[in-house]
Symmetry: D2
Subunit: 233 residues, 4 copies
């Protein structure tokens, strides 16, 4: 249950790390079959069939008897989308009491995107493909903005302004850090929404990393989720 190499992934200047978990496919089966003395210690073929049945018919509760504790470092605008997921627990670094370190998310030149199409059907393509210069210019503008904002932040602190107020000038691409504890059912809901093509690329990278870790811990549940359209039961 201690951290393993596979349970850590760098993402830009942040990371996602599976700090601890209490989860396996067997708990799905045993909680679904809760009954007088029918617990099993090992997963049998018919148990795998049961997991698939539960997923298909959207019997969600047996997927809740487990927990994943993630430790995440990501930009505020990513955390903002993450914290909308209410079934789960969060504790975040507080800029009211601690000074924010100078770590910002600055997209690589090839990751600067333009948006085309209509709402509900947007497409995103690298600006790079159209104009390398505009992409470089955009990255430079973001990078400069980071520095200026952080400079103002330090200046306000120097003037004696409280941390909670000095932070007002910090942009939403500065990195924050939090713990997130969630069960597999709520995690699948997160993965359904945040690995979808319509999700913003920057949170998608975190979600895809979380997906890998989930797949490793509950392989048959994961497989059933994929087989049944990646829809949360």
């Amino acid at each position: 249950m201690s951290e393993q190499p596979d349970f850590y992934q760098d993402i830009n200047d942040g990371f996602i790390r599976l700090d601890a978990y209490m989860a396996d496919d067997l708990s799905v089966v045993n909680s679904a079959r809760v009954s007088f003395g029918q617990d099993t210690d090992a997963l049998r073929d018919k148990d795998i069939g049961l997991i698939n049945y539960l997923m298909r018919w959207r019997h969600g509760t047996p997927f809740e008897h487990n927990a994943f504790r993630f430790h995440v470092k990501c930009p505020i605008f990513v955390a903002r989308e993450w914290f909308r997921h209410r079934i789960g627990s969060f504790n975040e670094f507080s800029a009211r009491y601690s000074e924010m370190p100078s770590t910002f998310y600055t997209p690589r030149v090839e990751d600067i995107r333009q948006q085309r199409g209509k709402q509900g059907n947007y497409e995103y393509t690298p600006i790079f493909e159209t104009s390398e210069n505009d992409a470089r210019e955009a990255r430079r503008a973001i990078s400069d903005a980071n520095e200026r904002a952080y400079g103002t932040y330090l200046y306000l602190l120097q003037l004696g302004v409280a941390k909670e107020q000095a932070r007002l000038v910090l942009p939403v691409n500065i990195f924050t850090e939090f713990y997130w504890t969630v069960n597999a059912r709520s995690l699948m809901n997160f993965l359904e929404l945040r690995t979808a093509p319509a999700a913003q690329q920057e949170i998608r990278e975190y979600a895809l990393a979380a997906e890998t870790m989930f797949a490793e811990v509950m392989p048959y549940t994961y497989k059933a989720w994929v087989t049944n359209g990646r829809i949360c039961p």
Copy 2:
């Protein structure tokens, strides 16, 4: 994380068993301090102080980054109170699809109670103390009722009535079984309410057993909860 003798307790003809957990005091500290690289691997004196501080000032979220999975066998009227606790996960034996075994809660003669006083301030005393005969008679009446009800249940099944409908005649003192997964914060809320003197004695016994298990897994959190009036943060 496997079952240990201390994590199992018989209660009348039922039981409560801590099936698995992902919990320790350290997770409270690390999630409360989530910040750039300040995690610790062992609990220090100042960490214990922090746990007490969080409990006292009702900062509840750091107590959520953990999970306890209990397996419980108890009468339906106890389960009914238990399932009112919404922050947590339940999977219960279904009498729609399985035949209910003939196990009923019949209070011992010395556990038959009378209720005195006004609402909000009831007192319960053993009928035994006033009239041993009435207590024995009450127990006998409950025991007979169990048998008659179960007899009717079997008769209905024999007539071909669906299990989900035959169960209509089963009383709320028949035993059911379920899995319950819950974090320490929600567990403390359960313990606050269900170990209180005003709680019904029959669920109190389960709650007191759960309290012992909680105390063993998160001793400093438990101690802080007791010191601060057994109030959920």
Copy 3:
């Protein structure tokens, strides 16, 4: 917002009543479009399209900015299924402090069912069709069981047994009463599960009545839910 004839329905010896609500289709649109000054006061064609779009793509949160308060009288075994729905609020009659009235659910002869087929694919047919006698006999057995159980209940109370303990002998087909407050999203989840053919007939009747009331209050949301497969967004 006061009770109207359409918002009340008798079900066997119980009822479901829409006590109050704060809900309309417009709130879905305005919350989905929350933005600088674009609220509308009346529903336009494109708003109806938006509701359908949200339902189809499972954007659920705009369906949460409303509330329905139901008052329900139903048998305990129905309430037990109902209370499994955690996103919502319940307050129930307490048999710890009040004497339970003698009202039981006794299925009509033509409603006594037999169960055929395998789990996940059960079929229920009236026993009446096979043997009128068995159906009558089953109804009589349930009716007799009610009387005996209630007799024992009164006897225990007479012996001085506390209400909370005397209730042990009451069967799960006795009627209870509760308030349930829920938003449209959670209500649609309830309706999806409890109006389904696989739901137990006795809760289905309540769910179908709730569906009628929901349809009246939020007609376009209701229509979108039906069109998109009666699946909760």
Copy 4:
């Protein structure tokens, strides 16, 4: 249920508005007393006593059978604290699909604060009192930072950068807008935490305005909450 002057309050360049509600003190009483035909239509003296009793002994559920829908415009750093309250519903303006207007929270000179003391016991005093010049300078620095950040935002949009990515440079003091639907119990929890002296001044102003509206809609519940230490039941 339509908007009234008292249910709207300007806060800096934002506002809080009670858009709709389904709430009164009577619903607390009726849900607490849910029982066979004992509903009342008007609040009696003993009902007010019951509300106080429920609050004092922390019987929270009867305070959940109601709903308040607020419409809020506030800076992102305020919204960030707000959205941590999980029992309730949110829909927020999305900067992925719409251009953020140029409205920023710039504290008035007399509102620029310094922080003194230790964590858990901070005191905040106006910098103005120590140095008027530093306060003015701090305000000017924030104001300049807003302009520069918004300038970069527009520049990125002009370069063709997608809205969702251009927003990276926007600081957390830019205004956002959202709907929030919540019941009285969860609202009291919000008020307990966010009107407390330890809360950040900027969210406190919103919480105090929400408190006024709550007091108007559920006066006896409000009074009982105040009398019992402003603690959420």
